[in-house]
Symmetry: C2
Subunit: 133 residues, 2 copies
DNA sequence: AACAAACTTTACGTTAACGTAAACTTCATA
DNA sequence: TATGAAGTTTACGTTAACGTAAAGTTTGTT
């Protein structure tokens, strides 16, 4: 029923341009099992799903996730195919990640406050230098 | 006038225990110029300032800062000793960092929302499995 | 047909942030 | 005094995430 027929396809260079990464990186992510484009001959063909995954990989990187961790998160989306036993371990992984992120959240706020202070500081020094001229 | 005489000293193992990192790491940070403990003989002696820096280094790491970046941030605190010319470059570095952090902020919110969804998902599956017993 | 552009695989090289091992010194204590 | 705990320097090893170069294929265009 819910067959998505969004047959929008991308080449490897399409995606490398769009996300501003090298084709080497994209192939590397495939090596690591994070994306699995189809092939036309030996050429890689990427679809919407692959594109979304790329986006998620990059977001993960911005948050300091390793590729392996991002891979684990991808697995989480296939929860349906998972046994009850694994669900426990998945949930503990989720709560661990949530804790990490909350810590990061606090860290960011702290650093932002400091940066604002520093900015203030710089500006006032610059102003006083201006005044002397 | 404002001579801080907080003469609280720490050994390298004190700090390694407190922050749960290896002494190797602490010495490495010194190599990179991020901390500069005094010496008693050849033994390193750390003070309050060193301890604070260690804390900041670790916070930086949680945010994905490289040691070099954290080092740059340390320099920012010596703004007074800086020329007006450098102030411009410092301020642009600050605003770059602020932008990065705001991006991270958004990323974190997005991932947190997803993780909450996933958690919901897991829980409801577990519940339905419970019901079947 | 020949040429460039875009793709491929294979494989060795690179950097940051340490890990780890070796060989040494200093100091407290049994 | 010897032995063990904690410190030191020196230096080579390790891992993740690619960079980079070589050598070949495919495809569209001149």
């Amino acid at each position: 029923m819910s067959e998505k027929l969004t047959s929008i396809k991308y080449s490897i260079s399409d995606l490398s341009k769009e996300f501003d990464i090298t084709t080497r990186s994209i192939r590397f992510y495939e090596d690591q099992g994070l994306i699995s484009p189809t092939r036309k001959g030996q050429t890689r063909i990427y679809n919407q799903r692959d594109k979304v995954r790329l986006k998620l990989i990059l977001r993960g990187k911005r948050l300091g996730f390793s590729l392996a961790e991002t891979g684990r998160l991808f697995e989480l989306y296939d929860v349906d195919k998972t046994s009850a036993k694994q669900l426990q371990s998945i949930m503990s992984l989720i709560s661990q990640k949530k804790a990490d992120l909350k810590q990061q959240f606090d860290d960011i706020n702290a650093v932002l406050i400091e940066l604002n202070d520093l900015e203030e500081n710089c500006r006032s020094i610059l102003d006083s230098l201006e005044g002397k001229k």
